[in-house]
Structures are given as structure tokens and as C-alpha cells.
Amino acid sequence: MPNATYITLIILLPLAGFLMLGIFGRKYFKNTSGMIGTTLLFVSTLLALYTAYGYFFEYGKVDGIYQKLVPLKYTWLQFSPGVSIDMGIIIDPISVMMLVVVSFISLMVHIYSLGYMKGDERFPTYYAFLGLFTFSMLGLVISSNIFQIYIFWELVGVSSFLLIGYYYDKPSAVAACKKAFIVTRFADVGFLIGILILSFYSGTLDFNTLIATLTSPESNEYKNAVAVSFLGVSALTWGLVLVFIGGAGKSAMFPLHIWLPDAMEGPTPVSALIHAATMVVAGVFLVARLFPVFAISAPDALSLVGYVGAISALIAAVIACTQTDIKRVLAYSTMSQIGYMMFALGVSKYGGEEGLGYTASMFHLFTHAMFKALLFLGAGAVIHYIHSNEMKDMGGLRKYLPVTHITFLIACLAIAGVPPFAGFFSKEEILLAAFQHNPIIYWIALITSGLTAFYMFRLYFSIFWNKEADQHDAHKSEGGFAMMMPLVLLAIGAAAAGFIPFGHFVSSDGTRLETELHLQFSIAPVALGLAGILIAMWMYKKESTKPDTVAASLSGIYNAAYHKFYIDDIYLFITKKALFNLIGRPAAWIDKNIVDGLVNATGNSTRDISETIKGFQSGKVQQYAIYFLVGIIGLALLFIYFWK
């Protein structure tokens, strides 16, 4: 059993950084905050690596199967017997893998930001937010309770919100952070209701118990959950679909992806950390966490995951080919790659060889984190140098940014799936899994991999080749050691991570999975990838009119893709027009005029009536006498005629 203390420490150190820098940073750590944050995270990373080593090589394996260990569990909020939110730590292959990925990428970003954000007015705040994010993300991956994951899920959402809106005086950043929060929040409602359904039927919120009860066909819980159905779909499937909606929102799956490209308004290292390598894969992680339930008890929900992933991968790749903002291209590419991970899970089955998709998905998550973080950090170096995000302002930078150039190229090769870089191995496994189980998804994936190679090299050639740079300035430099070191480290990762025998460590049921490469199978994707690269080279290596010509010949689809298939506009219409005008405005109107109107009407009518009858109180004695007389006569009549 691992020692819970130091695993807790992995998570709490970034939190300590957040609290320290957030509260005292402005006053006491104006310049040292970067170093403090980085040091704390460095310790975290070491502890994470130590945990990973211990788990994978020492105590994790029992009888050849990696166990799900729960070294810490603390009841946080008890609802009813058996149903409670526990703060716990679960140690299993994917959580350990994620611990390493998150802390490592976060460390890289911390180091990189020392150079990138230098001189920023809110330097301590920036590191505080990074600490908060890292804390939440690490907490998310080790959650042992489905509500605990929801808690950290919301926390990563809010730290993402804070970091996207970091440049708060820029209206576009403000709009973007709002959008990101609201869209993911909308998805989170699905997640929340999904949790309610799952917890109701399983009678627990604890992951291990929940998975155990909902995957054993003999248990009463399982029978109940399957027997109850709504619209012809069983309650269990509904629950999982709703949970997946939450995951899709955070992982920017179609049609909840609209926030991700806008989220690029945040500082570039943040985009690398949150919107490329870690937070956006939380959805994938969530599906993987509940994978046994998906795969065994609700295959329909799982195939939905597959199709949503595939569609997102394709759409994002098409859109990425047309965007001109380099960070947006990377954002769409992220979405596309996450689509890969999703459908890899979607086509997978539970256990043994059939579970290849699961392993492949996690493998891709791992490698993608390396090369996508590298791409973003590289893009950050370019932006740092050029002070623009637009491709048209770039070109010929290979001479001025040699390190960035080489590392960026490695990352591009990795994402394009060129052997022997990391992306090749993980993507091959994904394609193989898709090929074995779902031909439609396989073809979509194949096309997407060609597109991926094309748009990545379009990016690469546009930045580093194309027209000659005209704005060389001797004062500008590539950035110091702080910025170069993470690039190099990540480049090593992107180049070599593929050689890790991932199936030995991570598989759907914890057993050892041998993965091998089939040469003849690899030909198609690699050839497509190379074709994509060559086309990109032909179009973008030299400055020419070729891109415009091609765009013109494909004007219909090009325009649609350039405008992101008008999905943003549809959302804008629904929210701005429909939600505000059709519900918000009437609600406010009804409140003001009808509900409050009734209250005022009661008050006014009381006043009006008294206004009318106050004339009786005229102050004239003789009038009073007349009332008196009339009253007496009335009473007399009453007594005489009615009082029998």
C-alpha cells in the first residue's frame, strides 16, 4: 500500500502555492512568486514520479493485475447511509499516469512562464492561478468518489475561467472566459444529473463500489437500473450519457466545443497547460474512469461516445485547415485529437485484447499531452517574438528561432503520425482498434489523420518558411533558458514517448496487454500523413497564391469551415436572442407588471377606496347628525321588520 501522506502532498503543495501567492503575493512575493510556485510544483512532480515508480514497479501489481488502491478516504459530507461524498485518493494506472502527466506538463509551463510572463504586472496572481489549476486537476485525477470528481471538475472550470480572463482589460478575453465557463457549466448540469441517476441506482457515490455494483448483472442495483427506462433507453444508459455530456463539455466535443477556440485569449502557457494537455482531456479521463460501466452495462452509451468523438475529430480537423490564428489552429487540432481519444474509448471493449482502444486512448492522451504542450509553448515563443497571433505576420522565422523551429518540427511530425515519433505509435493503436470494431469510425479517423498532417504542416511552413522575415530586430531574442528548457524537454518526450510499452501498464482491466505494430496496417495512415505534409509543403513553403486559388476553388466548404460551420452563430442566436428575449425578458416583465402589479394593485385599491370614503368624515357636525339619524332609522327598521 502506498503512503497516503505524500500523495496528498502532491495535491496540497500547489494549493499551498495558490493560497500563499494569492493572499500575500502582491505584497511580499512580487518577484519571487514564480520561483516559489515552480519549486513547489517541482517537489510535487518528483513525488508524482516516485508514486508512479512505486505503483508500477513495486506494490501496484497483484497476480499480474494492477489494483485500484484507495490509500485515503475521508467522509466529507454524508447524505444518507451509504451515500456520501468522500474525499479520497484512488491509485490505479490511469490516475497515476495522469498524476505524472499533469504535474510534469504543469512544471514545464511553470518554468516556461518564468520567461514568458516576466515583467507582467500580475505575476503573483498568475502563479497563484496556475497553482489553483494544478491543485484542482491533480485532485480530479485521484478522485475516488464521483462527487469528488465533480467538485474538482468545477474547480478546474473556474481556474480555467480565471486564467482565460487573465488579461482582464481585453474585452475579447472577458467574453471568452465567460463563454468557456457557461458552456462547460451547461454540460456540467448533465454531469450532475448523471451523478444523481447513477448514485440513486447504485446506492453509492464511491467509484469502486459503483463500478462493482453496476457491472455485475446479478446485483439488484444493476437489475433496477436496467429495468427502469425512459424513452426506451434504460436509466443506466441515461445516467452514463448525461455523465458523458459533462465530459464532452469539458473536452470540447462537438457540439459543445465552441468555447475552446475562444479560450485561446488566455496567456499562451496557460493554453498549453489547460486547453491542450490537461483539463480538456478530463472528459476522456472521466469516460475512462467509468469505462467498465460503459463497456459492460451500457454499450449504447459507449458507441455514442465513439461517434461523437469521431465527428468532433473530423469537423475540428476541417476547420483547423482554414484558420489563420495560429493558436486557434492548435485549439482545433486539440479538439480533433481529443476526438481520437474519445472514439478510441468508444470502439473499445472491456478486458484483454478487446480492450486495445482503451489502452490506445490513454496512450494517445499521454503522448498528446507532450507534443501538444510543446506546440503551444513553441507557438508561445513565436508570439512572444512577433507579438501577433496571425499567420500573415509570420514567415521565415527558422533563422531567428532555431530551437523553437526544431522542437516545433518534432512536435508536428509527432502529431502527424510520422514514425518514429510518439504520435505515430498511439495513433496506430487507435486506428487499429477502430479498424477491428467499427469501420465507419476507422475511415473517418483515417481521413482525419491526413488532414491533421496537412494543417499542422500548413502551420509549420507558414511560421518558419514561406515569405522571408522582414521584421528582424536585433533586440529581440528567442527567450531565455527558462523558455528553451521546457521546449527541449518536451521535444524529447514527443520524440521518445512512443517507445514506452504502454499496454504493459495501462489496460482496461489492469492486465498486461501486448501491443504490436503491423507493418502493412501502418502503410495507409503514414502514407496519408506524408501526402498531407507534401501538399502543405507545396502550398505553403514558398510565398505564393496557391492557397488562395485552392480556397477559391473550394469556396463553399472553405467558407463554411472558415466560419466554423456557423455553430458559434447558432449558439449566439440561441443564447442572445432566444434565451434573453424569449425567457429572460418575459420573466422580468411578468415580475414587474403582473406579480408586482398585483401587489401594487392591492395597495392602490385600498388607497383608492379609502380616498373615496373619507368624504364621509367631513368635519360638519350636522352631517354627522344626519348619518346618525339615518343609522337610527335604519336600525329601527331592522328591529321592527327583521328582528322577529
Binding site: 373619507k614 368624515q617 367631513s618 368635519g619 360638519k620 350636522q622 339619524l629
Partner: protein, 105 residues
Amino acid sequence: MIEPGLIYHMLFISATLFFIGVYGFFTRRNLVTMLMSVELILNSVNLNFIAFNKYLWYDKLDGLFFTIFIIAIAAAEAAVAIAIIINLYRSHQSIDVEKAEEMKF
């Protein structure tokens, strides 16, 4: 013994007095006149008391007591009323009731 039919006359006189008093109370604007009207009303009531006492319960004296009581009250009332009227005259320079209507609404 008084003739039994005489009660009608007495009641008639009392009713006439009463309505003259009421009429005066409603139509006069002068407070002194109104006070006099009130006295008329009270006296009509006195007459009633005496008449009924005499004809219905001639062996009792309740009606007479009441009459004397009312006369006493009327005297006190007249004293108070005249005091009020004098005060009103001091403040309003008039004893017209129409002019004394501050106590409204």
C-alpha cells in the same frame, strides 16, 4: 285619573317637539340655536317618559326619575356646550358650525 285617550295627545306633542328639535338641529348654523334644538329633543323625551310612566306603570317612578336625571344632565350639558361655544367664538370669531370643520379626514 287622566283620560286614557290623552296619551295620544301627549305623544303627539312629544313627537312634534322632537321633530322640531331635529329640524332645528339640522338646519340651523348657529350653535346656540342648535343647542336650543337639542334641549327641545331632550324635553320631548322627558314628556315621553312621563306619559308612558303614567299610563303603563303608574305605580312606579322610574320614568320620573329618568326625567329628573335628564334635566340635570341637560343642565350640565348646556353649561359645557356653552363653554365650548364661547371657546369656539374666541378662536373662530363666529359660532357658525359650518366654519368649524377642522376635524375632518
